[in-house]
């Protein structure tokens, strides 16, 4: 297989990687298996559950729906890049505060979709929030607590500081 590998450059959570990847490797596998960033989850592998959501060049994408070599030149944010290593991101704190995390499997993807919603509109309506997380399935919470958490985060983040 080695011969068919492709050279790519990707920036993941502000760190530049130069890597050789097999053409059939998906971005989710690259993140989890080769870079050890296992916060990104795989559920369905078919674009339906959103567990593998990451932010790529400012947009949420399902990392199971992208070949790793297609990500060449892109800038990627995963859940590991949300906090600063010591403190959680305000969105993550709001999820905990509102009890929006149960089994936690959907949470990394949810948090990144939440970030995309708030990046687009720091003060989103309930409808915008629901549309924004419509690609993320949660089997535990029934969504209301997640919606509440995103509203909570919007308030906290809109309050003054502008970390986003």
């Amino acid at each position: 297989m080695g011969d068919n590998r492709l050279m790519i450059k990707v920036t993941v959570n502000d760190r530049l990687y130069e890597l050789q990847v097999d053409p059939e490797l998906r971005l989710v596998d690259l993140l989890r298996d080769e870079l050890g960033l296992t916060g990104t989850k795989e559920g369905c592998g078919k674009g339906e559950c959103g567990a593998c959501t990451i932010i790529m060049n400012g947009k949420t994408v399902n990392s199971c729906m992208v070949l790793a070599f297609q990500a060449d030149g892109s800038e990627i944010l995963t859940i590991e890049g949300m906090g600063d290593g010591e403190e959680l991101h305000p969105i993550q704190e709001a999820f905990i505060r509102q009890g929006a995390v149960q089994c936690g499997y959907c949470t990394p993807g949810m948090v990144l979709s939440a970030k995309a919603i708030l990046d687009k509109n720091p003060n989103p309506s309930e409808e915008e929030i629901r549309k924004g997380i419509s690609g993320n399935l949660c089997r535990c919470t029934g969504y209301q607590k997640i919606v509440d958490a995103i509203k909570d985060a919007a308030e906290v983040m809109g309050g003054g500081g502008d970390e986003r």
Partner: protein
């Protein structure tokens, strides 16, 4: 052996690659169809040509009296584009109804067209807008073919393996036209629609001067309802007998029964959707100035 991947950075490079290896190559744009189709069997792909980095195919432009949408324009871009919102709101609405935010951020209009699913959501508005497909190969150059002729069956189109779609083109709708898109899926997000419909009406007052109606997922390809289109000409959109004409829709379509809905159900739903679309137009809920 394993599969062979290649990223093209210029259109010409992609065409050269297809010229040489087209027969054994799968083009990948956003990958939202390809990676589902090859789920857990990616190793069966032979060559993969990644076109996602072809920046030259990512813009929406007005050229003379036409709108040209690059094949790599995503559903998100279509939904957010002022050119599309102002001139073809039905297409913006259809794009906004695709899958989920994540799917709309990757899925492209070119992929939707090349995939040629009878349920493809941008296909009905494109048919109603009288769109054409622009595709190109290295040795035969550029071709522009109406979308209607382009689609020949479920998942099938007239393109050869060395050709690549570069754009979708449609005439800027005239000032007296209004359009509507209506979709019925079985779950709001992420449902591949069971049936969808798009309508463009040219109105002289309340009279239908001309119209195009396109139906999705009721036939092997997305399809115009030509018989009904003809019958509707000259009718008053506000009168109830205009809506009775829609009873003829079943003659226009050949519904297939599958897991997502029986034949009778699809016929009924097609009628219901077109009725809703016309109603939307009558109520001026949609249209060039009405949004």
């Amino acid at each position: 052996m394993g599969i062979i991947g290649f990223t093209s950075r210029r259109l010409n490079e992609a065409l050269q690659y297809l010229h040489q290896y087209g027969d054994e190559t799968t083009i990948i744009a956003g990958g939202t169809d390809v990676l589902v189709k090859y789920h857990e069997r990616l190793d069966e792909l032979h060559r993969v040509l990644n076109i996602w980095q072809l920046e030259e195919l990512k813009s929406i432009r007005i050229i003379n009296d036409q709108i040209e949408v690059g094949s790599l324009v995503t559903h998100t871009q279509l939904e957010d584009s002022t050119i599309i919102q102002q001139n073809a709101p039905l297409l913006a609405e259809a794009a906004g109804s695709v899958g989920s935010p994540q799917i709309r951020n990757r899925g492209t209009i070119g992929g939707n067209v090349a995939n040629a699913s009878p349920a493809g959501d941008t296909l009905t508005p494109l048919l109603a807008l009288d769109a054409s497909v622009k595709f190109v190969s290295l040795d035969r150059g550029e071709k522009v073919v109406s979308l209607e002729e382009f689609l020949v069956g479920p998942g099938r189109h007239i393109m050869k393996k060395d050709e690549l779609i570069t754009a979708l083109i449609f005439p800027i709708p005239k000032d007296n036209t209004v359009g509507a898109f209506v979709k019925l899926g079985y779950r709001k997000a992420l449902a591949i629609s069971t049936v969808n419909a798009a309508i463009m009406l040219g109105l002289q007052g309340n009279l239908i001067e001309d119209c195009r109606i396109a139906l999705g997922a009721v036939a092997p390809t997305t399809k115009r309802a030509k018989l009904v289109e003809e019958l509707l000409q000259g009718q008053d959109v506000t009168k109830s007998n205009t809506f009775e004409i829609l009873g003829q829709l079943e003659k226009d379509i050949a519904p297939i029964s599958d897991i997502r809905g029986s034949q009778q159900y699809r016929t009924d739903i097609a009628r219901e959707l077109v009725t809703q679309g016309l109603q939307k137009i009558v109520n001026k809920e949609v249209g060039r100035s009405g949004r």
